[in-house]
């Protein structure tokens, strides 16, 4: 299949035509359509390298009522993603080569985007014994990112061993930073509002204490650590400090932590319940600043589907998590691009180039140049839409932005030259 993309603005810069042929960008410039080529009019659209999500919950195997690899990756393609990292907290847990290969194959069969399973750090996410990280790394799924996400690897000795062990195959440990003893029963950000609402607090220090420890451990053993969903101003400062030292630390922020604040908990509507919790306006500002200056490497969605009954209840009984794949780019445009904190090249860097580098995905996050993979997304930055939960391709509906007007629209997504989202071709 040959596709001519006509007149797209590359990363928000100069306009060009791109010829996508047999999975590769074969020509770039002012082109005429070869015979038989499908032509995509990209006048007024941006071309970005296909987005890469470092943090996705696809729920399969085990919770197919909430999401499947098929539905989750369809949502990913609709959000402009060409690769997602599927978190390990499935049932059974992705802690063996067998499970990660299953998820990888489901992703390949679905075909909406590349699925890179994340392997559990510890058996059953239980935090006691290392999972067979090497077997997962050597499997067909070629796992490079390991995480007990949802649970913190809180045992310092175990975390040290995990960091050391993954060096053998250039892996990275992605830490869900949450000191469990400080967050027992925690429901929302700890502060004046949690006290008033009577919801048990999730203090910033519980995140920052683990990040501080893991930064020092990573430096000590010279191994890569990645901090999942950084949510506090103090955590941004810690990562900034580590990077100033030249230590191998990377970090992500979620779209919801870049936009939403804890005030929403006053509705007691569990659609706003997430872990780590929505924080203060000062934390949101610090995350935006950290993303702008590169302290925060990556926007990662933490797309977390839950069945309706898990949110249609009282706050304390509700599940943590929000959908994010289909709204991530719009939220980044709204919070970062429109206020002038990040340009589109910066968006490409934080949502494609750097996550691909951290996940060691050689075919993603590539420049839009001749000879590179034809893996890209076309975005209409002038569009606006009112988010409707019912429009989602996810099986779940826990979208905190429903009813809000957000900018931008993904028009088409291409994975190695094949259109995975958007009308024709």
């Amino acid at each position: 299949m040959t596709v001519l993309v006509r007149g797209a603005s590359l990363l928000g810069g100069p306009r060009a035509d791109l010829l996508l042929d047999r999975g590769v960008i074969t020509e770039l410039g002012h082109l005429s359509a070869p015979a038989g080529a499908a032509v995509v009019d990209a006048d007024g659209l941006l071309a970005l390298p296909g987005l890469v999500d470092l943090h996705t919950h696809l729920r399969e195997p085990g919770r197919e009522d909430a999401e499947t690899v098929e539905s989750g990756t369809a949502a990913a393609a609709a959000g402009g993603f060409t690769a997602v990292h599927a978190m390990a907290n499935t049932e059974p847990v992705a802690d063996t080569a067998g499970v990660v290969e299953q998820v990888w194959r489901l992703g390949r069969d679905a075909g909406h985007c590349d699925v890179h399973p994340v392997g559990a750090v510890t058996v059953g996410l239980a935090g006691r014994q290392l999972a067979e990280l090497g077997a997962m790394a050597e499997s067909a799924a070629r796992v490079r990112v390991f995480s007990d996400d949802g649970h913190c690897v809180s045992d310092a000795a175990l975390m040290r061993r995990a960091l050391e062990y993954v060096k053998a195959f250039d892996g990275v440990v992605a830490q869900h930073a949450q000191e469990p003893a400080l967050t027992a029963g925690a429901q929302m950000n700890e502060g004046e509002l949690s006290g008033r609402l009577g919801l048990a607090g999730w203090p910033a220090v519980a995140e920052e204490a683990i990040i501080a420890r893991d930064i020092l451990l990573a430096a000590h053993v010279s191994s890569r650590v990645h901090i999942c969903h950084v949510s506090t101003a103090g955590a941004v400062d810690l990562v900034r400090w580590a990077k100033a030292k030249g230590w191998p630390v990377t970090a992500e922020a979620t779209p919801h932590h870049l936009m939403l604040t804890e005030d929403l908990a006053a509705t007691y509507d569990p659609v706003y319940k997430v872990n780590p919790p929505l924080r203060s306006a000062e934390d949101v500002a610090a995350l935006q600043e950290g993303l702008a200056d590169g302290t925060i490497d990556v926007v990662a969605t933490d797309h977390a589907p839950h069945p309706r009954e898990a949110k249609d209840c009282e706050w304390a009984s509700a599940a943590f998590g929000m959908l994010g794949l289909e709204t991530a780019l719009a939220v980044v445009q709204h919070t970062m691009v429109e206020p002038g904190k990040l340009d589109w090249a910066g968006v490409a860097d934080r949502m494609s180039v750097r996550p691909a580098r951290i996940g060691r995905l050689p075919d993603h996050g590539r420049p839009l140049e001749v000879g590179e993979p034809a893996t890209l997304t076309l975005v209409d930055p002038t569009a606006r839409r009112t988010v409707q939960a019912a429009d989602s391709l996810s099986r779940s509906r826990n979208i905190p932005y429903a009813g809000l007007s957000l900018p931008g629209a993904v028009v088409a997504t291409f994975l190695r030259g094949r259109r995975t989202f958007g009308g024709r071709a």
């Binding site: 004046e192 609402l197 009577g198 919801l199 209840c313 009282e314 706050w315 304390a316």
Partner: protein, 311 residues
């Protein structure tokens, strides 16, 4: 007043109206036949996800004195423990035609969900939710204080104990400050919530200095299991530092009264001789609870024309 979920739902005028209406209820029921026909044909459901015989009984008596039909719906085993969910219970009560639902729940915000999730059209009265709010307890406390002290503006009220886990303390601070009283919270720093410094009250870690000028002292229940979680070292140390005994009672001005929302841990936050002393109005609080709850149900369900029209 559409629902009574927290004191924040009330302005000063509405709060005073409830207290005045409770006085009216006292006058009307101070006779051999205590029952009023006001809510005849209306259905009040007591929906208790948490055991509380005293609060449920108080609401039940209040509704019955107003001639409402009362159903006690004990939903033991909330959705947390795989029982019927809050939503399904609510839909059931809606189908049965409940006019008001009095709800007690261990989860903060559960009454708020009932009122705003679109599951029911009934009026919701919060009978205590998690560590959030207990507005009718605050109203009965204020009612009791008002009977002994008159107008509460400028009066000094000291609330002592486990503020962190207390919905009673939160609602009391909101209501008493709304009525113009000066509130001082006293407790160990571990049992005061983060952000308490921004509440409309004073905060102290020491009890004795707060007592000399107090017009009323409310002692909060302190559960023994807090000790296991290291909120304080031992029951004895807690009682020594924050318990109200006869020695401390003498520090109070002569007119000052002692309150407790119950149930008491005698020997822990309050000694038996103080609880049974003539300064204690703890038993009186129970009777006043019925009057205040009558006033709330009356105002929500039948009392004002506006309430009727906007249904």
């Amino acid at each position: 007043m559409q629902h009574l979920l927290t004191i924040a739902d009330l302005d000063r005028e509405e709060a005073v109206r409830i207290l005045d209406t409770a006085e009216e209820m006292a006058r009307l029921t101070d006779r051999a036949i205590k029952k009023l026909p006001t809510l005849r044909g209306r259905t009040v459901v007591n929906l208790f996800f948490e055991d509380s015989t005293r609060t449920r009984t108080s609401f039940e008596l209040a509704a019955k004195r107003l001639s409402a039909d009362v159903i006690n719906f004990s939903a033991k085993g909330s959705s947390v423990s795989k029982g019927e969910s809050l939503k399904d219970t609510a839909l059931t009560l809606e189908a049965m035609g409940a006019d008001a639902i009095v709800v007690r729940h261990s989860a903060s915000g559960a009454p708020h969900r009932l009122a705003h999730a679109g599951w029911v059209s009934a009026r919701i009265v919060n009978a205590g939710d998690g560590t959030h709010a207990h507005p009718t307890q605050a109203l009965l406390d204020a009612f009791t204080m008002r009977r002994h002290l008159g107008d509460l503006a400028g009066r000094r009220v000291v609330i002592v104990g486990d503020v962190l886990h207390s919905r009673v303390a939160r609602s009391n601070v909101e209501l008493l400050s709304l009525l113009g009283a000066q509130v001082t919270l006293v407790g160990p720093p571990t049992l005061l919530p983060v952000g308490v410094e921004s509440w409309p009250c004073q905060v102290s870690y020491e009890l004795d200095p707060a007592l000399a000028k107090a017009d009323a002292v409310t002692m909060l229940r302190v559960q023994h299991e807090r000790m296991a979680a290291s909120f304080f070292p031992s029951a004895r140390e807690y009682a020594r530092r924050y318990g109200l005994d006869s020695g401390r009672l003498r520090l109070l001005p002569d007119h000052a009264i002692v309150l407790h929302p119950g149930p008491m841990n005698r020997g822990m936050e309050i000694t038996a001789d103080v609880a049974d002393s003539d300064r204690s109005v703890i038993v009186e609080q129970v009777g006043n609870g019925v009057l205040v709850r009558m006033a709330v149900l009356y105002l929500l369900l039948g009392g004002s024309g506006a309430a009727e029209e906007d249904r």
